[in-house]
Amino acid sequence: MKHDNKVETETLSTLAQTGSVTRKPSDIELVALTKRYGPAVAVDDISLRIPENSYCCLLGPSGCGKTTTLRMIAGHEAITEGDILIRDRNVTNAPALKRGTSMMFQSYALFPHLNALDNVAFSLKLQGIDKTERHAQAMKYLELVQMEGLAERLPGQLSGGQQQRVALARSLITRPKVLLLDEPLSALDPFLRVIMRSELKRIQTELGITFVHVTHSQEEALALSDVMVVMNGGKIMQAGSARDVFEKPANAFVARFIGGHNVIRFGGRDVAVRADKCRIAHGSDGRHLIAEVKGVEYQGPVVRINLQAGDSQPLAVVLPDSVYFATPLSIGDKVTVSWSPEDEWALAG
């Protein structure tokens, strides 16, 4: 059964006006969540509502607190301050097994002494379900992840991608309300990553539950998210749909981290302009900078030109290959970079 995935999301600004926005049902709500290790603050007073049945990505550089946040939702990390609600039930003090969440670990953590089928059936065994019954159910989930043919194999005999599928099946058999994924695609090679990515999205849609997926790859986050949460230094920099975050970055950090943007100090303020919306040509209304070409990168369908304007303003312009090769550039060339005012997005602070 497919859900309509065009879910409306709330940006930070509307979060501040709690109560005046229609509250859609949420699967997860974080309220002033904080995690401290002694004097160090890993997660700093974050608040977030993740709507039901959505694919949510926590995106950010290493050490930004995304994994800690995930583990707090899972119940594997104690909360210092704040609350976590899952389907409007406060689970802040609930143990991990009672939260209705299930976690997929970065290392998959498949039990090495059990084969794939027994790994998946593990939680059923804990509940005392007898062997035939639990093996049958486990098989169904292995079919969901297309691993039914390798049910008898031990984890040591499976490839990385196969282990991940089994781990996924194992997490889903507990019928969680929320699936938490800790950098699930990081250990895979790039080709496999793209394939598994669409698998994850397919399964999330089919099952109709919420996935919270931690990643440091903006490409992954853009491809998967209904809700994208960009974090840095323990705080949420921006939360919104993928398009919102990409087209309207809230601040310079988000603009730089999400990629594909130039952050330009222009007219006394910081603005973001997408690299593919910049042109090597004179602008018509004063929105241009003189820059020196520092490097040219061929990337297949597009060519990326790295430039520097003035002393410290890096710029990047991405042109379709045909446009570039019509008038190619050399390192050291001084050119004019320009953009249109409607492509300019003012950045906060």
Binding site: L97, T101, M103, A109, S123, L126
Partner: protein, 281 residues
Amino acid sequence: MRDTGQRRPRSFYFLLALFVVYMAFLYGPMLCVFILSFQGPTGGMSFPMVGVSLHWFEVLFGGAGGQGVGDMHNSFVRSMRMAAIVAALTMMIAVSAGMAYRRKFPGSDFVFYASIASIVMPGIFVGFGIALAFNLLGLEVQWFSSGIGAQLTWSLPFGLLIMFIILGRFNPSYEEAATDLGATSWQRFREVILPIILPGVIGIFMAGFTSSYEESARTSLNVGTGNTMPMEITGLLTSATSPVLFAVGTVTTLFSFALVIATLLITIGIAKRRQMRLSAH
């Protein structure tokens, strides 16, 4: 790891020679014992061999009309009995204690340093202390109570250290995954932790067994009446200076070998059944 295919540096040959000499140093005496245990009936404690015979084995086992040497049979049984009990106790107590150390708890340092102290203290010292304690309490020193207790002071710290090594390499995600899937702490232990650390646990059992079997300093004062094997053999060293000692040596060595090989086979069997890569990720 190494660059293969390269010519060996000169140092390699020097080190290899040293290693060979070391092997000769280690095995020379053992080989002498082995060879000389087949000494002829009129031969002495040194070479040359005066004939080759099983005479001394017969003397040892009490054949050929003799009564055997010393009280070998009984002391052997005593040693085995003690070793089995000590090994089982060590395994259970050390595994339990090792599991405790996965968290920080008040008193963890105390128990750790007490364990180190127990190993560091000379054996007769500990043995003396225990015997003294029993004496003062008016209790008799017996193999079952003070004897086993004394041997535990030696085997338990080693068991704990082995647990540290095992659990240090244990991926914590396994446990978190188990919790996530609904396991209580007992289920976590029985279904996940124990199967994975089983080879190590067997190692603790065997370490406890062999250390008990060999131990003499702590045990001798605490075993009460009746000798253990090491004590019996020590007694023989002074009383019986004949190649029968070599026969004893050969037999006990073969027995130890058998034990160790049995353990290896069991451990390999377990690992094979799981086909676990030795470096779990």
